[in-house]
């Protein structure tokens, strides 16, 4: 008895028909997922670092200290500093104000005020403008050095930290590229195994006159789905970490956006899968259709 009508939607190869999802595919999905998860984590870390640094830098003030109590020199230096490009405002901080702040910072402990006022240097607070360039710090330091004053070293380190963050970002892009290539090769190897298992089918489709896209499409689709699926899974696996560290980050005034990596991971995964499929089917395409 014919059973055609019992199976009105037969699974036929080629075109938009996906090859079966086997153990190799699951394995590739897990490996790509772990790689994408690690990448997502690194980028979230970079996001947190940028936010933390950004908050800090928004309120940044540079402080110039002058040991000797020479008000004329101090005013002259303040005037010189205010003329530098990238400086929004300059304020001379009185020793009294510095002593009050220091006392507050020390927890209001009893300190001999006379001695404290005597030991503190004169200081100038410099507020950089929004368009302050990367050389502002060295300009300030040069100007201060000229009159025997110095710039707060901790603030110099903050400026350096910004450069480190930029370097880390560049490094992250490099790591992303390398991992993307590794993921593409893993997907490509998986698809290559599928291709080898279905070599007869591919050859027959070619002999029957199938178009190039018709033969390659199932493998490209599988690669895309593998990558996108791994991306989605990796994104889901980021959440326990995001939620688990939320309080700690909140204390640092950092608010991580867990949804930000979703689209990059989804489409990045799909793109990596496409690349893998392209590598896997490269030899397919180069096979001559009619050569002697």
């Amino acid at each position: 008895m014919s059973r055609v009508h019992e199976r009105s939607t037969p699974r036929l190869p080629g075109g938009f028909s996906l090859p079966p999802f086997g153990v190799h595919q699951w394995l590739a999905l897990v490996i790509v997922c772990v790689a994408l998860w690690a990448l997502g984590l690194l980028w979230l870390g970079a996001q947190a670092g940028a936010q933390w640094m950004g908050t800090w830098q928004q309120n940044i003030r540079f402080h110039v200290y002058m040991e000797q109590d020479n008000q004329t020199k101090l005013k002259q230096l303040a005037r010189q500093l205010s003329l530098l490009p990238g400086v929004a405002s300059v304020r001379i901080v009185s020793r009294k104000e510095t002593a009050d702040w220091l006392r507050g910072w020390l927890g209001g402990e009893a300190v001999d005020e006379e001695e404290l006022l005597h030991s503190l240097p004169s200081s100038i607070e410099v507020t950089p403008s929004g368009d302050a360039g990367e050389f502002l710090y060295s300009d300030l330091a040069d100007e201060a050095r000229r009159v025997g004053a110095s710039l707060n070293d901790g603030e110099r380190q903050l400026v350096q930290a910004r450069h480190w963050l930029e370097n880390i970002n560049r490094l992250l892009w490099f790591v992303t590229l390398i991992l993307a290539l590794a993921m593409a090769i893993i997907i490509s190897n998986t698809l290559r195994m599928t291709l080898l298992a279905r070599a007869d089918e591919v050859q027959l489709m070619r002999l029957l006159g199938a178009n190039e896209w018709f033969v390659r499409m199932p493998f490209v689709l599988e690669g895309m789905l593998l990558g996108a699926g791994a991306g989605l899974l990796a994104w889901c696996l980021l959440w326990p970490l995001i939620l688990g560290t939320a309080d700690w980050f909140a204390a640092l005034d950092v608010n991580l956006n867990g949804f930000a990596p979703l689209l990059p991971m989804l489409f990045g995964g799909a793109a990596v899968g496409c690349l893998g499929a392209w590598i896997a089917t490269l030899r397919l395409a180069s096979e001559n259709i009619a050569s002697s």
């Binding site: 055609v4 036929l12 190869p13 080629g14 489709m205 199938a210 259709i289 009619a290 002697s292």
Partner: protein, 255 residues
């Protein structure tokens, strides 16, 4: 017979070859100076000893190999100059029955037969109906969901015929379609091929089994060591210069 003019009631040429030569990259010359014209609607036997070039000539016909020199036109497609997409288009108009069947053993009989229809983007409704019809034609309507390994050699060959005819191709190429089959099964296979020719297809059979011509007459093209030694002679059991006299002299060593 190298022109394109109608002859013997067959109409225009389906295949035209002039001084066709095929040399493989190994240096072996498979075909040398083949000139022939096969008319549309013909039933042609391509005979010769093993290694005579029958399979190579068939491969040339469907664009499996590109001739080294000469001219070859199949359904007005010049296979010496053609682009890959033109070869694909040509293949969609040819039904091929391979010597080793080339059935997909991981697919059902239905899926094997439906594959050419799928390649040609038939809609599912028409595809199912057509696959069923051709399997009924070869008497395998009850084996639709069987896998080829569960079929006998004769049944596998019938599946291959069903697949080759599924898209109504004007040209059917069969490479040793009765090889390793018993006489009765071979006769049945030949009956199907004759029926396809009667339905309007041109059928070209590469074989060294000349006994087939006793029951299923057709035109004869004979190859020997890659060269044509006899071009399109009609052989029939009853006709003058027919089967009996023709076959006796055509038994090659080892055939």
């Amino acid at each position: 017979m190298a022109d394109n003019s109608p002859q013997d009631g067959y109409g225009l040429a389906m295949i035209q070859a002039r001084q066709l030569m095929l040399r493989y990259s190994t240096g072996k010359t498979a075909l040398s100076g083949i000139s022939l014209s096969i008319p549309k609607g013909g039933f042609v036997y391509l005979t010769g000893e093993s290694g005579a070039g029958k399979s190579s000539l068939l491969r040339c016909f469907y664009g499996g190999v590109r001739p080294t020199s000469g001219q070859l036109k199949v359904q007005d497609t010049d296979l010496r100059l053609t682009q890959p997409h033109q070869v694909r288009r040509l293949r969609r108009r040819i039904g091929i029955i391979f010597q080793d069947h080339k059935l997909l053993f991981s697919r059902t009989v239905f899926e094997n037969v439906a594959l050419p229809l799928r390649v040609q983007k038939w809609k599912p409704d028409r595809l199912v109906a057509r696959a069923r019809k051709v399997l009924e034609f070869v008497g395998l309507e009850d084996r639709l969901w069987s896998f080829p390994e569960a079929l006998s050699g004769g049944e596998q060959q019938r599946v291959a015929i069903a697949r080759a005819m599924s898209t109504h191709p004007p040209l059917i190429l069969a490479d040793e379609p009765t090889g390793n089959l018993d006489i009765e099964t071979a006769r049945r296979i030949m009956d199907y091929l004759v029926a396809l020719q009667r339905a309007g297809s041109t059928v070209i059979i590469a074989t060294h089994d000349l006994q087939l011509m006793e029951t299923h007459p057709g035109d004869l093209v004979r190859l020997h060591q890659g060269a044509l030694v006899e071009e399109l002679r009609h052989v029939s059991p009853l006709g003058a210069g027919g089967m009996d006299s023709g076959i006796e002299g055509m038994h090659e060593p080892g055939a």
